[in-house]
């Protein structure tokens, strides 16, 4: 199912098995430079349909940049990104529109439209798709709020919501059109452990209930272990490790051990 990225430091790791099914998202040799800084230096990654992949790595390591590339919000310097077999590099904004209907994204801060109520935020994608029936919109919004465990919050403005609530509303907005895939940018960052756990459960529930493919960018290891079928470790602009949670935990690689144990003075530095 999964293809491990060959890395000199990971040569001792057992090779991971790859299947032949067409991946939901395939990233090949992706490179991105911002100013003088090389953020991505040839990322290769595949996300199969229905699986949940966690992309971990240190802060500022390019995880969010990689995620934004996957939905065409950033343009790489070189490389390829295929969504369900369709290369999105070189597409203009209007062509990307069709792709973006298949891939939802939850932004780190929720990115709610601050001039709209919770209801209008969640109903936004449906309204833009031409849905005008107020009753139908209201019922779909209520259903999403129920999934998010936020019943009765329709009329609140984003400024009066807590960080966790903003993320839930952002998630409800991202999935109301039932995309095939959802990308999560640091879904638990800045949340207390209890709220973070509820977000993790929500990600799992969405995957089980709607069968959505998910990519979760995080540096919260608990979140990664809780939600992911597979974990990819992004280090210095490349996928350094690509395997299951147990393979990651059993790894003797010093760099991975440092990251897992949160050691700043390890040999991997």
């Amino acid at each position: 199912m999964i293809e491990a990225h060959p890395s000199p430091k990971m040569s001792a790791e057992p090779p991971l098995v790859s299947d032949n099914s067409s991946p939901m998202i395939a990233v090949r040799s992706l490179e991105k430079k911002i100013g003088q800084q090389e953020i991505l230096r040839g990322v290769d990654l595949k996300i199969s349909s229905g699986e949940t992949l966690a992309i971990i790595g240190r802060s500022g390591g390019g995880k969010s940049v990689l995620l934004k590339h996957m939905v065409g919000l950033m343009e790489p310097d070189s490389g390829e990104i295929c969504i369900q077999g369709q290369n999105i590099i070189g597409m203009n904004e209007r062509q990307l529109g069709a792709i973006r209907k298949k891939v939802g994204i939850l932004f780190q801060g929720g990115a709610l439209f601050d001039s709209m109520t919770v209801e209008d935020n969640i109903a936004f994608p449906l309204r833009e798709a031409g849905e005008r029936d107020r009753k139908a919109l209201r019922s779909k919004v209520s259903e999403m709020l129920e999934v998010m465990e936020m019943e009765g919050q329709e009329d609140k403005m984003p400024e009066s919501l807590s960080g966790g609530m903003k993320k839930r509303v952002g998630l409800a907005r991202a999935i109301i059109r039932r995309p095939s895939c959802v990308l999560y940018d640091e879904p638990t960052a800045g949340l207390d452990p209890v709220v973070a756990d509820s977000i993790n459960r929500l990600i799992r529930r969405l995957q089980q209930r709607f069968g959505m493919t998910s990519a979760v960018v995080t540096h919260d290891m608990k979140s990664a272990f809780d939600v992911a079928d597979r974990i990819a470790y992004l280090h210095e602009g490349r996928i350094y490790f690509d395997g299951t949670a147990s393979q990651l935990q059993q790894s003797s690689d010093p760099l991975i051990q440092d990251f897992l144990l949160g050691r700043s003075d390890g040999r991997g530095d």
Partner: protein
């Protein structure tokens, strides 16, 4: 010498790039206007924002400009025994120059600043990325309604400014400067032509387009958080005001070719 040219090169390139971005935004917007469905609700909201909520500013600007221009013209013309010509001077000046330019400057300050700040805040808080991620093209959603609202509202605001200015000038002339009202009106009607009004409204339309594109472009290219939003807003107002003043000269010269001065 090389250092001089290289020092000159960077700002020149930046300026050329800026102009290019404005032109591309305008091209994208007009393409969208003709090929995509208009979001009527957003358009009407912007008409309220740009047109209706600018009423007080425009009325005060027009009234006091007309009043002071009437007084100053009278002080000078009265020495030559031409006090009754004040109405014509006030009316023609308001139509051709004062109302379009002053209204545009006020709108740039009030509406242009609001547009760049709002769009800029959306940019730095990832709301524009969210729009794009939800398959909504930001130009269609944010720029098109603002451009159309400005195209509709600016000529109306300038027409209002002209009317209020003329009325204020009349009141000052009649009640404070003791000019004969009949002569004032007769001269005003005689010397104010439809081409003066056409010139003023055409300028208003052009200034509106300049303000809206400059403000939206600044908002869409905002970076670096709250400081960036502040900088974008300031630059939008300054650039739009300068663009209005510079374009006003060229429009005046162009209209002078179409309607030569002194032609009746």
């Amino acid at each position: 010498m090389v250092r001089f040219f290289s020092a000159l090169g960077a700002p020149l390139l930046a300026f050329t790039q800026y102009l290019g971005e404005l032109v591309l935004l305008a091209a994208d917007t007009f393409r969208s206007i003709f090929t995509h469905k208009l979001r009527w609700k957003l358009f009407l909201n912007q008409v309220v924002e740009v047109g209706l909520l600018s009423q007080l500013v425009v009325i005060i600007t027009g009234a006091f400009t007309g009043a002071v221009f009437s007084a100053q013209t009278f002080f000078q013309f009265n020495k030559l025994g031409m006090g009754s010509a004040v109405g014509a001077v006030v009316s023609v000046s308001l139509c051709r120059e004062l109302a379009p330019v002053l209204t545009a400057l006020m709108v740039a300050g009030r509406v242009g600043a609001a547009m760049s700040a709002e769009i800029g805040t959306m940019k730095v808080t990832e709301q524009i990325d969210a729009l794009r991620a939800l398959a909504v093209y930001p130009v269609d959603y944010l720029v098109v309604p603002r451009v159309l609202a400005m195209m509709v509202s600016m000529p109306l605001l300038v027409a209002e400014c002209i009317a209020v200015g003329i009325a204020a000038g009349y009141l000052v002339a009649i009640f404070m400067l003791d000019i004969n009202g009949t002569y004032y009106m007769a001269n005003m009607v005689r010397w104010t032509r439809s081409r003066d009004i056409i010139m003023g409204l055409s300028k208003a339309f052009c200034f509106g387009i300049l303000i809206v594109f400059i403000s939206c472009q600044k908002g869409l290219t905002t970076r670096e958080g709250a400081v960036g939003v502040g900088r974008a807003t300031t630059e939008a107002v300054v650039n739009a005001s300068l663009a209005v003043l510079i374009c006003n000269f060229f429009l005046t010269m162009m209209f002078n070719i179409i309607y030569p001065a002194g032609y009746q």
